[in-house]
Subunit: 424 residues, 2 copies
């Protein structure tokens, strides 16, 4: 890159971030009614612009071969009238959610008469870096604006024309509804260096949210000078306690592993109590094999289940995100807990058990964003938890843990009212 | 440093962090009664060990000249029986606070019958780097353990013997009360490289909290691979609205500026509405001058107040932490808000006003951790807000903003109870 172009790119990023910061100052004091009016108007406008959006999506689809997209990725990129209607529906759902801004989180009157209130306010500006699914563009814009934040969207180049068409629609309705025009900005350049420049602007951008492969997230963590909400994948476990109901155990393991394999809350590792392994493991493994899952077990598993291959140390750490599962026979709940806290990624871990003591011990000791008793690991997301829309699932402990919905994009300030109090 | 010594230091830091992590796993499930018993026993034991502690404090005091401590720093370092009693009293106060762990923060039953609970849990391990006041050692240990966290304390070398004596007392009572012995560890080496090693151990340490000068904090931010709760100083404002009560204005400005000057919530800059500047500013400035405060004003201020020197652009950004204040006449509340959000450090800003509209506009628009109406800026701390003990005042928006008490050292996890639910 020549120096002149590099300077242009830096200026572009700086200007974009300054505009976002300016918009964020207005966004924080918008009425809920204004934000919701924009969401509803945008839903209608997106549906009305279906032809225009599909035309731009066709440009992305025709460019897809040069990016070497897999058939699955190509399918995620493709928009249809039904998919545009689903995007509009999601905007209407976000409009129906409670405004997370201006909530009184805590409050008291102090002995000296000072009235203290802790109230929720927006974080400010969000830099969102994400994969190529065009629906994410609209979802992220809606979640950020509803929570009073300005957003800079850096989507995958594979969806650039589709995203630009949809953001243009959002911008038109913003003008009509009194939303600052720079509340939602799509990064126009596909230059990868732009990401680095944005990540250096800690005075203007309050949080970076990368969503995508591990490589992307690691790059963002290394370069960002502002806080990052990270979404690493999950090495999630299902543990079958000796008191587990057999049918429930089979259902939960199969659902956790197979219902959708490429996602962070899918099960990657199965632990079974020795006392029930002989009885239970063959049934569970048969059900998994019927779903085309490859089994990698410890020596005991391999003895009980001839179809299982020997697992290596790497398998206990692995996030397969595909049709493979690791399986280990454990001595009891203590060993299961130790294994999960050691090898797991603190994302989502489940126990199947019928005794209260086992459920209590497991939920107390497992250090994960969601600890699940007698249900599928696949439930760890904002929709299933009733948070409404989510911008991702945080694998951090700091600020936000687990599903990140509207509230997770807020911070707070203290409002203090007195009548002349001074400090002694 | 020779390679062998460097390896020793690395091993020491790694081992210390591993021990902390291990202790943290036990700490999270301690009963409130156990933690409080330790706090109360430690209070008694510290008082009983007064002679032993004073003897070690004398060693620090006699070494102080070689560190070139100022008289004020020397005074902060000095322990007396009364000061040890105050430290013990602070432990008893922390024992009386509500346990922040195990609180249900939110909960619902989903349409499919899943019971979702969001419960508070400890962050894990805290690496606390702080100045040389020995009372901070005990306070930080108490706050961390009460919130279920293990802590690695890296205090200033100036207080090393005093801190070690007090941590030894805490360790003895820990053993008696069933608290893991490594819940509180004091870094034994004064080697500055140790800080860097600890800051690299993001798998073992969940948060770093530096408290001290700007240089220390900047170093920690640059080197830390884990989240940091930052405590930068504050450039705090008092704005006198045209509707301000005169006597209240004088009291609040003088208290905000002069009650204690070297702290982050002291006033550094004064804004006055033009409509009342001629009447009000001379009175306020006379009161400040009587306290020995140097005035640096914009041209209008200098016209109205002959004692004021001309302020430069740097003065609007300055955190004097001493007997100087910058003063500017503004056109009204809009200009005041713009000035504060531009030059301020988003820490603590106050308005003196008697009209509701002014108070509302100010509290809505000012983007600071505490926005104060008709009271001194000096009230922005955990004690004044009723949070109980605090480990510092965060200047971040992320995770914790403003005073950091027990709750700010927690995170949460979701507990999900089902009866066999799987995902469609």
């Amino acid at each position: 890159m020549s120096l002149a172009i590099e300077e242009d790119l830096k200026t572009y990023c700086l200007t974009t971030a300054q505009k976002a910061k300016q918009a964020s100052r207005q966004l924080g004091s918008l009425l809920t009614a204004q934000k919701d009016a924009w969401l509803l108007a945008s839903a209608d406008a997106l549906e009305a612009a279906t032809d225009e959006i599909l035309a731009q999506n066709a440009r992305d689809l025709s460019a897809a071969p040069e990016y070497g997209l897999s058939p699955a990725a190509l399918d995620r990129l493709r928009l249809t009238p039904d998919r545009i209607a689903a995007i509009a529906h999601s905007l209407r759902e976000i409009a129906a959610l409670r405004d997370p801004i201006g909530q009184t989180l805590d409050g008291s009157v102090r002995p000296n008469g000072l009235e203290i209130r802790k109230v929720s306010v927006p974080l400010g500006t969000v830099f969102f870096i994400y994969e190529s699914r065009p629906n994410v563009t609209v979802d992220a814009a809606a979640i950020c604006v509803k929570s009073g934040n300005a957003v800079i969207l850096r989507g995958g180049k594979e969806a650039r024309y589709s995203s630009a068409a949809m953001v243009a629609v959002l911008a038109r309705t913003a003008e009509e509804c009194g939303i600052p025009p720079n509340a939602v900005q799509l990064v126009e350049t596909i230059d990868r260096d732009a990401v680095g420049y944005f990540l250096s602007l800690s005075d203007l951008i309050d949080v970076a949210i990368p969503r995508g492969g591990k490589g992307l997230i690691e790059r963002v963590v290394a370069e960002a000078r502002m806080p990052v909400i990270k979404h690493y994948d999950g090495n999630c476990h299902v543990y079958l306690h000796e008191s587990a109901d057999e049918a429930m155990a089979v259902d939960i393991v199969v659902n956790s592993k197979c219902q959708r394999m490429g996602v962070c809350n899918a099960c990657e590792s199965l632990l079974v109590d020795r006392k029930v392994a002989k009885q239970l493991l063959p049934k569970v493994c048969q059900a998994l094999t019927e779903q085309g899952i490859e089994l990698r077990g410890d020596p005991e598993t391999c003895q009980l289940v001839p179809a299982a291959k020997a697992a290596s140390e790497d398998d206990w750490w692995a996030e397969y995100l595909g049709p493979t599962i690791s399986i280990k026979v454990v001595d009891g709940i203590e060993q299961a807990i130790e294994h999960i806290n050691h090898y797991g990624s603190h994302h989502t871990d489940a126990i199947v058990a019928s005794t209260l003591a086992a459920a209590q011990a497991f939920t107390a000791a497992i250090d994960s964003s969601a600890v699940i008793v007698n249900a599928s690991t696949r439930f760890n997301d904002g929709g299933a938890f009733g948070l409404g829309a989510e911008i991702g699932i945080s694998t951090d402990k700091f600020h936000a843990r687990g599903p990140c919905g509207l509230s997770e994009l807020t911070t707070y300030k203290y409002l203090v009212h007195g009548n002349g109090q001074i400090r002694n």
